[in-house]
Amino acid sequence: MATAATTPIAPIAPTTVREWITWAVVAIVGAVALGWIALMRGEPVNALWIVVAALCVYAIAYRFYGLFIASRVLRVDPSRPTPAVRRDDGLDYVPTHKGVLFGHHFAAIAGAGPLVGPVLAAQMGYLPGTLWLLAGVVFAGAVQDFLILYFSTRRDARSLGDMIRSEMGLIPGTIALVGVLMIMIILLAVLALVVVKALTGSPWGTFTVFATIPIAVLMGLYGRFLRPGKIAEMSVIGFVLLMAAIVGGEPVAHSPTLAPLFTYSGPALALILMAYGFVASVAPVWLLLAPRDYLSTFLKIGVIAGLALGILYVRPDLQMPAVTHFIDGTGPAFSGKLFPFLFITIACGAVSGFHALIASGTTPKMVASEADLRFIGYGAMLTESFVAIMALIAACVLDPAVYFAMNAPPALIGTTAQSAASAIANWGFVVTPDMLDQLARDVGESSILSRAGGAPTLAVGMAHILSKVIGGQAMMAFWYHFAILFEALFILTTVDAGTRVARFMIQDLLGSFVPAMKETQKLGPNLVGTALAVGLWGYFLYSGVTDPLGGINTLWPLFGISNQMLAAIALILSTVLLFKMKRDRYAWVTMVPTAWLLICTLTAGWQKLFDPNPKIGFLAHAQMFSDALARGEILAPAKSAAEMQRIILNDRIDAALCVLFIVVVLSILLYGIGAIRKAKAATQPTTQEVGDALPA
């Protein structure tokens, strides 16, 4: 055994008077800020209060709860050699400065999820979302990321699937892998849908996003042949060209000859994206994927920093009420009551199962010392939560009427500014048709109605904030398209990389039955695997684009449920490992968030299946359409009996997927309980750590 017993255990409580005073001040400031945003009614709350409350909560959580987990629950041992130290090869395993590794880890976990989820959740007001983002990250999200990173670091940087297999058994390991593949497919579909929703009928946006392809190829060629490995030069060239593409999009959108070339309907964009996904994921990585990844990574970090500075500089008032009446489940952006659907919708910013894959990926290979784990694992997730808080702020600084005009489907608000204004007035938010038209003109679009999916709303919110820093009203359109481009860019990078990952998983899975499929380097099996991967997410994307409820309403909860379920799986594994380490008395650290996630996801899954409201329940929706079909009626948006049949089929497939997720998580839970009982029966720690035998 490593010398955990001899490692001095750091005290959790402050040790000096000065420290006591500092933390007392942080606690008081945080409590006042939280109280202000929770209790203030009648006049608008400034966004700064939310920022201050969040920062104080993070600081206290990191200092006290994070330290408690590190020194008591896990007993991190700085003297114990990490995989990076033991296996240093200068390539994959490299002991890395903790600040540098933090950047690597944060760039890998930050994606579109924390930006989209909170925007959708804003329909219930800013308060429920803020509270869950703070509580969720402190007690669930950051705990999961930290623990999985720790467990992987103690097991030679093994992956989540590997750890489940070796610590819980082969069957739960395989079940978890199938679950991960399905989550991947839904994730790709829903992210692609966000892009489709943002670009439908928007020649400016479509032009700039299309332009990223030749720009990336140019960068790729430059970095491959002209100046190998000069990432900074490539990225600067790419960035300049991107900005030129945004500026160039405006004349394109106004040109009668060029604009139609870049104006597409939703279904057309979905097909284009599928074709793109197929080509991009079989093309050489250096040509398209790698250069665009550079652009999207640096742009992502830059925009996050820029948005933070923008919010601090502008200090906007929140226009959205603290709580709207849509907590009753009748909201237009997503259906379902606050419990459980708020917790499903916010997804990545509070807790994200996907991070368990990252925390057991490349990061643990580079951890220099176990002492850094809290900063990287717990700290990066707190930062991710802060990104989500900023997205929530960006959505809530908009006039609520504008927010609802952008996020309600045409079935509720019609397709004209007049119909939208009157429908929204019925919800209690006042807006004139002129205001909606004016905003559309300000951001350079023909319409902003029913642009669901989060990205356009966030883009308008960011344009609202950033244009107050640079450029004013005249720059609104630039900032709007900049924000759309920024989101589309890294979503497309995810689509492209994710399709590859899904392809490997499919080839691996099929390879068990057809050995030829395992040949990942051969063109034939590669094309078949890629076609299957694209076909799977493309199917859900297309059904989302043609969905009568707007697609996001159907797919985002499925994604949220699956992502939270993966988090539950990672936390179940963590619980099992704590029992195996004989740290039973601290197992509540993972059992409490596991229980909460299971309650939320299973309730949400149940409601998505069996709720009698066709807006929520898949089966009720299928029933509504098949009843209508039996009466010989055609319900919008279907135009024929065949389309009605397709909607019914889609509902049933979504329902089946929901059942699959529930079965996956429940079976992992059962295997977990079995493993815990076995661990409790043993008298010695039974965990299988790697590296104990090696000299320090």
Binding site: D293, A347, H355
Partner: protein, 62 residues
């Protein structure tokens, strides 16, 4: 200067490229006399590793 160097190192590692000088130093210290990849080869190797085939390909987040 040191801060800028760390910043550049961090930016490169964000896209999966570790420090080349450190790699060269590691080869010299632990594998003397064995071949060392040139910067160009090193970079190609890292790009293939990050986005390429096999179980080492890192997962992507939402």
């Amino acid at each position: 200067m040191r801060f800028l160097h760390k910043l550049a190192e961090g930016a490169r590692l964000m896209v999966g490229v570790p420090d080349y000088d450190r790699y060269v130093a590691h080869r010299a210290a632990h594998h003397p006399g064995e071949p060392v990849m040139t910067l160009k080869e090193f970079h190609r190797d890292r790009v293939d590793r990050r986005y390429g085939t096999g179980p080492g390909a890192p997962p992507r987040c939402c």
